[in-house]
Symmetry: C2
């Protein structure tokens, strides 16, 4: 059971941010595995700028963070975010998206630097 109380305005902002299938799926994936931009490009079959712009929105509110690893930039979920418990509760009933990463591994396009 979630304890943190949340402001309506901020809750609406978080819900709006997650109210997009691409971003919702990204966050669901990032909650389990770090991922780099090019993996998302392949998973969503979307353009690189489009993916970067979705990640930027998530990063702008601090829900995810970036970290360069060699030539790649990996994104990870920010478990210290004030509203991470709220987000996690929203993600919980959603179906696992692990299959999407498994497909990359099978195709050999999963990035595993470091």
């Amino acid at each position: 059971m979630l304890k943190t109380r949340i402001e309506m305005e901020k809750a609406a902002m978080i819900l709006k941010l997650l109210g997009d299938q691409t971003r919702l799926t990204m966050v669901k994936i990032l909650d389990v595995h770090d991922c780099c931009v090019c993996e998302f490009v392949e998973i969503f079959k979307a353009s690189q700028p489009s993916i970067s712009q979705h990640l930027r929105k998530l990063r702008d509110v601090g829900l995810v963070q970036e970290e360069r690893r060699g030539q790649w930039i990996f994104y990870s979920i920010n478990k210290d975010h004030e509203y991470y418990p709220f987000v996690q509760q929203i993600l919980e009933p959603l179906p696992s998206q692990d299959q999407k990463l498994k497909e990359l591994e099978e195709k050999g396009t999963r990035i595993n630097c470091c």
Copy 2:
């Protein structure tokens, strides 16, 4: 703990719908009390068409239902909706909006027909 599994696409649709402060607050209120349109107009200090249009979006996905009572049309939450458990889980950590209805009662503008 929520058991129902939910499709990503529909989840994103619900989150988008709730990702608006007016609609989120409406649903939070309706989860506890039925309300008529004119009460919402007063609570949100918004125009009547604006309120009607938000209610229509909620009604279009079946999350709320309308019922005429005399000259008023009351809205209530649809607890039988497939995703009501998901919605309820999202509402749970949000602050009670009871105060907004209390203020109407104090001003004598709360509708209590029937």
